[in-house]
Symmetry: D2
Subunit: 245 residues, 4 copies
């Protein structure tokens, strides 16, 4: 169902790989319209088409290319923000936008495990969204933060949820084989991955273990109690362009 008047949205970290993917996926979206693009000082003030090195298969939309990149500041930003920041920047900027009254939907790992921030896969645990009410900014400015999980975690939890619901789960062993695109650009050096499997992705295993238990946890009014199960994740990088296994 398309809306008569679309919601204007902003993208924080618009020039990076994840920001580009947001732009690609939101083009012609029935509900949302990209109205504001922000990035680091190196890019702000330039036209997006000049500031970003577009790396996706589909062409950069003309309208986006001609938008001016804004500084990463809540002043002038729309009320809905899709955040595509590195964790270090996200740690500082996402609360600033929430405090200024924005709904911040974050792709970063910075606040996924914060007790009052929902970590959500809509099909799995939409009820965790009530955690928003525990965020101080919600009462003060109406703003709040919501996060989505690590890419590998999403596929895992989609498969585990019906098993957990029907039988319960005591132990989880998971091994991933992940594409190089997940490491961003330039990311994995080709000398490391050609003819090789890299059996380590920095902090990916910790994320996968912690996030899975939170996603499968129960909401108890003010807090999510993680699933009481043992979990062990082994994450490997393989010579595949796109798509995780």
């Amino acid at each position: 169902m398309a809306l008569k008047t679309k919601h204007p949205i902003g993208i924080l970290g618009a020039t990076g790989m994840v920001g580009q993917r947001f732009i690609q996926l939101l083009e012609n979206h029935p509900w949302f319209e990209v109205a504001w693009l922000a990035a680091s000082d190196r890019s702000s003030g330039k036209l997006y088409g000049e500031a970003a090195k577009w790396r996706l298969d589909t062409p950069l939309p003309e309208r986006i290319a001609r938008m001016t990149v804004q500084p990463a500041d809540p002043a002038g930003a729309p009320k809905i923000i899709f955040a595509a920041l590195d964790a270090a920047f996200a740690r500082e900027l996402e609360p600033a936008f929430a405090n200024a009254g924005c709904a911040v939907v974050s792709n970063s790992s910075a606040y996924r495990m914060a007790p009052n921030v929902p970590l959500v896969i809509p099909e799995i645990n939409a009820e965790h969204l009530h955690l928003i009410e525990e965020q101080p900014s919600r009462a003060e400015s109406g703003g709040y933060m919501v996060t989505n999980p690590n890419c590998s975690t999403i596929g895992l939890v989609m498969a585990l949820k019906p098993i957990e619901a029907r039988f319960g789960i005591e132990k989880i062993f998971v091994t991933t084989m992940q594409a190089v695109s997940g490491a961003g650009y330039p990311g994995v050096p080709s000398m490391d991955i050609l003819g090789n499997v890299v059996p380590y992705i920095g902090s990916e295993e910790e994320k996968m273990e912690a996030e899975t238990l939170k996603l499968l946890g129960k909401l108890n009014v003010h807090v999510v109690t993680p699933l009481d199960a043992k979990i062990s994740a082994q994450c490997n990088r393989v010579a595949v362009e796109d798509g995780h296994t």
Copy 2:
């Protein structure tokens, strides 16, 4: 320690990938000397250098290249046979050589799980070799069969054995990422593996599960009782030339 007089040995299936590897590894061996090469009717009667398409990095030894490939028949074969046959041929030929008095050391899966055939990793379960005495050919002609495990199983059991010895093992979960060389030549089509992980290797998971339990099993005079543990293996093919993970 080198022997003054080396044992002459024969290779069954000498022209295939495994047979070539036997030739490569036995060149200049201190105990064994390759004295007899046998292969299918298509190759027998030809010089080895003409019959085999040598695919290894090291050069084919001149002496081997000039040897005539023999038919796969025990008549005229040495007393020690390294067998590098496809399972279908092994099922028929290996007992024939054992019955004719040969010690058959097999790289095939055909008889690995037979109750009276030892499946051996020398560092792990050399005592299983006593199973040889349970083979009828042993009394009749002196001949017998010994097998080695699937390639992926070897690395796994080398790691599990000390854990089992010290703590015992109840459950085993294992995921492999295996190189294309394990599938022989021509093996995996490049269209299947470039930019991909193939999450299935025919009957590899079954072999890995059954062989691991037999290798970690206890010899009780006439029989090996497999380890009483649950095991689940997932075997994947990845775009790597050589070496399993």
Copy 3:
């Protein structure tokens, strides 16, 4: 411009990689409708969905999956045939269909260099289609054969034509780096191409050289005189899934 009544067409060699590509590209075509699928004795009589192992990214159209594969015989075939046969089969079957009154558009190399068969890239040498009139079948049954060039040749000639038209060409040196998909399935063994460049593609260089000169040749009423230039092609296979360079 879409036609009110589409032309029914048939595909010879419908189950192979090229046949599948024809089906994919002709789905929803404004002029043509796939009405007849033929393949070897191994497949004929079965439903297409059972006979063909579909390997393309887009789904096999339901309507096609339920069509019965016909024997490769002109009886009952439509008047327009897209032929996707190996050269050996094409040599025999394509003239049979032309003699039976069909317009045979061939993707095979079998008759590309025949003096009375047009080898055509529409943007380059559409006038060569007059060669059809030199084919005996044209007068007898109305049927005829038309061929398209080797895949690598097309890109080359598209680039050379304007240069030839404006300046003339005396010598051509061309080097290709071709994807594994061009070798069909199973095609190139992964052990040959991972971490490698294969500097030889059987008969590809000869095709590229001969076809380029014919495509750039002049039609002189009954015959095409090839371009009078020297040409040298080097064709390499590289570890790329799709797309030639």
Copy 4:
């Protein structure tokens, strides 16, 4: 022939990929002994084993690991220097070492095309070494510079030289397919090369063209006159770990 007393040599840029390769190749060399290792300020003062991230297949020799990395200064350096510097650093440092009396054998492109610096493949144009006498440092301190060609150029000129000697050469067309190792580490991002051919290597084509003509040139007492031929090079990066085609 091994020397009784080996020549002590130094390596400039010892921690990089080329420097590591020098160490690997000079280990157990019959004439030379690595006696001095220098690198940038970031590494100097540390033990080599701590300063360098060793990336080669063979182990880092223990003796080398325990050597202290020196600053890149001629004071204290041996009389023979193998230089493995980026061109920008080479431009400054190589003449400084030559002026200080060292024989500098350079792997960098900085001075390959300088009129008084020999660019040499020993099998091809050893007589070009007389250019050393044209360097002012030669008379002043005894020091001088010698360079070797771009990696791709070496294979090309080895093939061209006998043709040039026997028939002469008027035109050269060359296309390369080069491994990712040639770009150093981290070098080519895996997202750029997996499933791809990159038809551009920065300034590689210019080097290959100019260096080939100089290598095949004639020494006329004080100067080398480059070969009078037309040359066109196209350099491509392919998904191969090691080795150029």
